[in-house]
């Protein structure tokens, strides 16, 4: 199979699973050709190997599937346009089973066995938190796409960076002003009673207070709960907005029972798309969400005023108007998060070009080049929108979308400013030694 055949693009525009991953790079394509002598022509044509720590199995598999597709699409595009410093990218996938201990082992494997240039792509926070010390120990750059506050908190290390997706603290702060101005100032929080819910609770309360609002009640729900009606009487009658961040299989039940409890009235609803990522918004049980609002990292549904670069991103990744696979309308994407893979790969590309990256000996320079970045303009490389990167805390900040459920689709009604989400850095990784 020659290089051209391996880069086959399906007639419908969707790229295939194998087009970018594994040796879809130029050099790998040549390697399959008879008589090819590995990297015979020049050292500079050797691929840049990126270890993709993917949640292929375990509870993150639904996200892993889409992270893999977006990674394939971005790598193919980068390689088609000449690669990085003239070298193609090659992705090596290792499944971490969405498991903390395995995640750490996978990072070690990437560094010691696969000899990759860097590790990338981890989503689930518990895996990132467990694997980052290994990346630091082995001094290998670790570009995560995790959304957690753990990177910005300063608790990771110099090698752990999150330049492609905002953290939950910024997201929560971003939406608070709009909620206070448009939905109401008296907010009741309904959240699962563990770290994820606590983050929202702890980040949102000061943010809404700063906007003149008030959290008038907090309703923690035990994580194993599957019936919610008995918790709803805890929601005060004078609540303007219910801020809900339920996750897990019982989300649909939660919404259905909320609808049954409030009937046609009730307070405004504001949620995070994390609750319904990869779930069809038209699913039975979700009718009560009509008219309610959600945070989205990037719109699931194609918007009327979609910029050309965002449309191009959607087409390349292979999602349709509804945010589902162009090949499979039932396969709803994780659109609110997966753009982070695309953008992180482009940040890696830019940092490698800025640092003149040649190989593992330049890993520290690569991190320094990433830290030196400040702004990412919206465009093909950053289809979600413009961003500001804070090298001190290794965290990017972005505009966020607030979308309303209208007749079975999510329409963006407001884009926050980048500044809405920014906060005072609590750490400075640049002062740490390599």
């Amino acid at each position: 199979m020659n290089y051209k055949a391996k880069h086959q693009i399906k007639p419908d525009g969707g790229i295939t699973r194998r087009t970018a991953l594994k040796g879809l790079s130029t050099a790998a394509g040549l390697m399959a050709a008879p008589g090819f002598v590995r990297y015979a022509q020049a050292q500079s044509s050797e691929p840049i190997r990126i270890g993709f720590q993917c949640h292929r199995t375990g509870i993150g598999a639904a996200y892993g599937r889409w992270y893999e597709r977006v990674t394939s699409a971005a790598v193919k595009r980068i390689n088609d346009q000449g690669g990085v410093n003239g070298r193609p990218l090659e992705i090596v996938i290792e499944d971490d089973g969405t498991d903390a201990a395995r995640g750490s082992e996978v990072v070690a494997k990437f560094a010691n066995q696969h000899k990759v240039d860097l590790v990338y792509g981890t989503l689930f926070s518990h895996v990132v938190v467990a694997a980052a010390p290994m990346a630091g120990e082995l001094k290998i750059p670790y570009y995560v796409v995790s959304e957690g506050y753990h990177v910005a908190s300063g608790k990771m290390n110099r090698y752990c960076v999150q330049p492609g997706i905002t953290d939950v603290k910024a997201q929560v702060r971003s939406v608070a002003p709009w909620i206070a101005q448009n939905l109401g100032k008296r907010v009741t929080l309904v959240y699962p009673d563990y770290a994820f819910g606590h983050d929202h609770r702890d980040f949102f309360e000061p943010a809404i207070t700063a906007q003149g609002g008030e959290v008038i009640a907090k309703v923690p729900i035990p994580p194993t709960e599957t019936s919610f009606t008995r918790y709803f009487p805890q929601i005060p009658r004078d609540t303007d907005v219910i801020y809900h961040v339920m996750v897990g299989p019982a989300v649909l039940t939660f919404v259905k029972e909320l609808g049954e409890f409030f009937g046609t009235g009730g307070p405004q609803l504001f949620g995070f798309i994390d609750s319904l990522e990869a779930v069809d918004i038209n699913s039975p049980g979700l009718e009560f969400l009509d008219g309610s609002h959600f945070w989205e990292g990037m719109p699931r549904y194609a918007q009327p005023d979609i910029p050309r670069y965002a449309a191009s991103y959607r087409e390349t990744v292979g999602i349709d108007e509804n945010g589902a696979s162009v090949n499979d309308p039932n396969d709803v994407s994780t659109a609110g998060h997966m753009f982070g893979c695309w953008e992180t790969l482009y940040v890696i590309k830019a940092a490698m070009e800025a640092s003149g990256y040649r190989g593992p000996e330049d890993r520290a320079s690569l991190i320094e080049a990433t830290e030196a970045m400040t702004e990412f303009p919206a465009g093909n490389e950053h289809p979600q929108g413009a961003k500001i990167f804070n090298g001190q805390i290794h965290q990017v900040f972005a505009e966020q979308c607030i979308s309303q459920v209208n007749g079975g689709r999510l329409d963006v009604v407001h884009r926050t400013s980048i500044e809405d989400g920014m906060y005072e850095p609590e750490a400075d990784y640049t002062t740490m030694s390599f």
Binding site: Y63, G97, N112, A130, S146, A278
Partner: protein, 483 residues
Amino acid sequence: MIRRFDRAKHHRSSLWALVTLAAMPPALLALCGPAFAHASERGHVLLLPTQYYVLGGALAVAASFLVLIFLPPQALARLGTRRMRIAVLPFDGRATVSFFSFLIFAALIYAGVSGSRDPLANPLPLTVWTLLWVGLTLMQGLFGNLWAWLNPWYGPWRFFVRLGGPEKGWFRLPKALGYRPAVLLLFCFAWFELIYIAPDDPQHLAAAALAYWLFTFAGMCMFGHPSWASRMEFLSVCVGMISRLSVLEARCTERGFSLSTCLPGGKLTDTRPLPLSGVAFLLLALASVSFDGFMRTFFWLGAIGINPLEFPGRSSVVTENTMGLAGTFLVLGAAFTLATWAGDRLAGGQNWNRAAGLLVWSIVPIALAYHFSHYLTALLVDGQYALAAASDPFFRGWNLFGTAMAHVQAGIVLGAHSAWVIWNAQAAAIIGGHVLAVVIAHTIAYRLYGSGRRAALSQLPMAVLMIGYTVFGLWLLSTPTAG
């Protein structure tokens, strides 16, 4: 040397991983923030009126037991023995097919070691877990003992015999061992599948599969293929037992293989009693697939102190799940023992061992129904990945069968409509499997106790167990799960 150095470094790294994990302050773990617990397809099932299915299933199994009391048992027994010959295969192609299968196995091991690191692109884990363990087991239940042809040992063993190796081996397996080694091996297999932290890892799986192939082949050479395959090789034992449910029967005659059709489960009603180790083997097979569902439930995770919305991964629950797997086997074993012992007493029987050894065959349709229900979605999606991987087994950009570029249609199991269809298929299988089990158990009981009345009496406790297991099976498929 370089390789050894790297490995040592890797081991140090692994050790470091465990040390850092253990030393990680709780405050840092609390920073986990977003956990992305996916709403998952179980969310749609939670909205379905599954409680009516559970009630209906229990009633259907109870009703089938009551109906059997009034049916003439002789007629049932005759139906079970009825055969209709359909063809005679005038040749024995087992050695050829098996040798071909061995070559594929060797290629798969090579792919596991040198192919893609992605378990959804490497054909080894997809073949072992999806095509073999899920697909082949179901085919065995429907069409008979295909594994007798497809196993990767028989062909090489025949070759070994042709080279002068003794057909019956040099040693004899002690009869007293029964199925005990197979029980142990099945437990190890179930542990590797359900509890080991990386059963899908192509290299880990290649090492395990190769070690098992070598162990088994050595055993077959030393003790002879027939005795090793029928009592030691757990996969042959397991799918061989499952195949007794099938609607096809092949008997070895002078003219070749005589193929007949029979009613589903017909072959189970006139089979020989299993020794207690064989009883344990079948119960372990059912216990392992039951625990596969149970270990993902909120109920179990809550019981072992794990928040199901931020499931930390397999490595965190190795001890608990090992105990859980063993516990499920013990509980099921105790329930079966109690039911058959009480039934034997009620019917005035004198030989509980024989009763248990015969009645355990009625577990087969339940085990197959559980297998179908629990692995249906995996079969539908991972089966597509397997097709894609088959076209490019060594990850070199090949497209041998034109399937390498196929987009995997994960949507086939996604969304409310699919959830409804799949739930109904699962529920039908669970209920149907238990009804068939009641019929088979009743027929066996008639054979055991000689009269319809005594058979019905003996089956009272078993009927209660079957109803309970129907409810448990449907609950497993409808209760919230992690992932």
